[in-house]
């Protein structure tokens, strides 16, 4: 197996920051940092339940806009996908994470930390299916 582009230091540091954010949200607000829930529930809620979600999303957007403004040279963004492909992918990710009650953060980080059997199964499932999808896509492209 060829290992390429491996960036263990920045990956682990980024992971620690994400864990820290989840810890802050848990210990202060008593909520789990699952982004698909934070965003998706915006369609269901109102009042204070809506406000903290919008503030968390504003934080995510500020991180993105801030990094793009202050350190544009540090941001790598590369996508081979076409627009039609991205629309299908986005619909699947939006619907799938709501149906499956979580995504990479809610199941993958918070759920595994809590040793939730549901989250462990879901994470194995979306990582496995994601890998199979990339393999199938590459195989079709090679035809």
């Amino acid at each position: 197996m060829d290992i390429v582009n491996f960036t263990p230091g920045s990956a682990a540091l980024g992971g620690v920051l994400i864990g820290l954010s989840a810890a802050i949200l848990w210990l202060s607000l008593g909520r789990l940092a699952g982004v698909s829930n934070v965003v998706g529930q915006v369609f269901h809620t109102s009042g204070p339940e809506m406000s903290w979600r919008l503030c968390f999303i504003a934080g995510l957007l500020t991180a993105g806009a801030g990094a793009a403004t202050l350190y544009p040279e540090l941001i790598a963004f590369e996508s081979q996908a076409g627009y039609g492909q991205l629309i299908v992918a986005g619909l699947l990710v939006g619907f799938g994470t709501r149906l499956g009650s979580g995504c990479t953060s809610g199941h993958g980080i918070c759920g595994i930390s809590r040793l939730s059997p549901r989250s462990i199964v879901a994470t194995l499932c979306f990582v496995g299916v994601g890998m199979a999808t990339v393999a199938a896509w590459n195989a079709m492209g090679a035809l």
Partner: protein
Amino acid sequence: MNKMVTAFIAGLIFGVGLIVAQMTNPAKVVGFLNVAGPWDPSLMLVMGGGVLVFSIAYRLPKPRTPHLAERFIEPAERAITRPLIAGAALFGIGWGLGGFCPGPAVVSAAFGEPKAWVFFLAMLAGMYGFSLLGRRPRNVKDPLAVVD
């Protein structure tokens, strides 16, 4: 107010973490999922770092209530259900096709990247579509406890 500021700071740190880890780069994510080809294992360390820190925070001696809220809210559902598996599988297909999961989609939309915007809007449409179906997990006494 404190609650809103804290949520904003948590979102900010979360977003910086995703950027530092390069999860906001779809090519990096696809490189991780491309386990059958040249493979980039970096994302395993993102998950490892996050799990390490949150595992500790989750097991700290817990105060009766969170600092700024009345109670801790966790998922009540325990069973491995069909929607859980089907949803995770659909998410996996979309993740492999686009290289975005929900957090990075929000952050990279703010980079101003058109491809990120298209994905982000489609993702919101998918989430909204799920809401329209009105499917709520059954056997849950506390609707707030439906936490992803």
